[in-house]
Amino acid sequence: MAALVVAEHDNSTLKPATLNAVAAAQEIAGAEVDILVAGKDCRAVAEAASAVLGARKVLLAEDAAYDHGLAENLAPLLVKLAPSYAHLLAPATTSGKNLMPRVAALLDVMQISDISAVVSPDTFVRPIYAGNALQTVQSNDPIKVITVRGTAFPPGEATGGSAPIETVEPTGSAGLSEFVRAELSKSERPELTSARVIISGGRGMQSGDNFHLLEKVADKLGAAVGASRAAVDAGFVPNDYQVGQTGKIVAPELYIAVGISGAIQHLAGMKDSKVIVAINKDEEAPIFQIADYGLVGDLFKILPELDTELERRQ
């Protein structure tokens, strides 16, 4: 039976998280993977989705009601499409997490949240307790509603496919909710969840202004900048910087933790990174236990030194 992946997009570009969800869907349903693009004036996204390698077809639903991805309006569309599929998947992003449980409840099925591996079409592995345990669950429901942990599935190929685009009749507005405004962080740096290198700051940074020390190093490395919950709670940086159990889950090639002690809630968001570097003045900080390379010292001395050294060796 086929799988349907809900595309993550902003009406103009297809977000990379979609490709990880497509990869998970292909492990489940092989060649029978469709992609749903629901939005407003979003044909460009459908065209990008049609180029995803291995996609069978793209369903395009355009309506003003889908403009901002309000779950109350999108869930009925998924419910309408569900009978043709055995699996409905979305990336475990804030939009996927917002939408899919609503869909699952309307279908009277349990959602399988944040899967990190596919064992069989009805059996999945998912992290629980901030990733300190892995649970293998088997769904007895006729249709599986799933969110996908992006870091656990290498992204599918964005090009090489030529799936046909079919338009789908929209289901309209539920009239329950309205979008007011978005205040989105603007950055020239890579997105946290798809960056190859991330440098994150914690409470040890002491202020938001001091993050410029991290940013200088980030720009040398082409890195994204992240933060621990403590740094976000203290108001140093906005919420979308947060890496951790309830923030973003990341697994870059290189993760540099600066002034972060390493609470389990933070480790949950980054411990699958390939190489971890920790810079902290407290040599007993738990972050050092999982770091491949630990450097004990004052970050206000180390960061400028690191910046100079990278410059010198570039």
Binding site: A71, R102, A104, Y129, A133, P238, D240
Partner: protein, 282 residues
Amino acid sequence: MQPKRGLAFAQGPCTNLAQAVGRHGRRGNGEDGMKALVAVKRVIDYNVKIRVKADKTGVETANVKMSMNPFDEIAVEEALRLREAGTVSEIIAVSLGLAQCQETIRTALAMGADRGVLVETKAELQPLAVAKLLKAVILQESPEIVIIGKQAIDDDCNQTGQMLSALLGWPQATFASKLKISDGHAEVTREVDGGLETITIKLPAVITTDLRLNEPRYASLPNIMRAKKKPITMTTPEALGVDVTPRLAVLKVEEPPKRQGGHKVGSVAELVDKLKTEARVI
């Protein structure tokens, strides 16, 4: 009035749900302020380093410190602030599960909630079942606003609020970091991957809390004593007519692979050198 089961530690009066509804069940109106319902989950305390059971059936919970799910504490706090602002007139704290969940309800009552409802069962409750049980309680209690944590820190599911609003046909505002109520609407700022998003939803509605919504208060000693006298209504899934059969079978629970870390370097130059020549990541 007696609790449905004789519970030695159950302090304070307990009633059954029907009696309580008769007494408290009138819908709040504009003059009185609204009724708010918060759901509170008993979970392993967030500071505890969990242990996976040797037989891989789950996580060790015997002799482990249990607390209220931190996101639910934020939900209780938000309801209290709405009551202090005069928007809400009564706060009902609901928990579901073992008899010990009364302790979690008492914590909410000590923070300031007015009364509790415990849906008592030994059955494993998955989010869909929890949402159905909460719906059944909500249909009896008629709150205008339901506030719950966005996720429980044990199963990390992040489902219940969305499912509950779907089952009720209500709007949802998940991952809330700011909440403003006026004219039968809630304006909610949500923490999303790209930053912040603000939506308005019609009440009644379900709101799920994110970390920055507020900082929960500690219960004072007098309030802890006062909480012991506040009523907790006892009910069961059977009495509410809800089938809670799990839809997901847990086949096993394992420890994740351990990371081999702990190596130190002596200088920035050595660090850059290792990253370039040994790890080859820069």
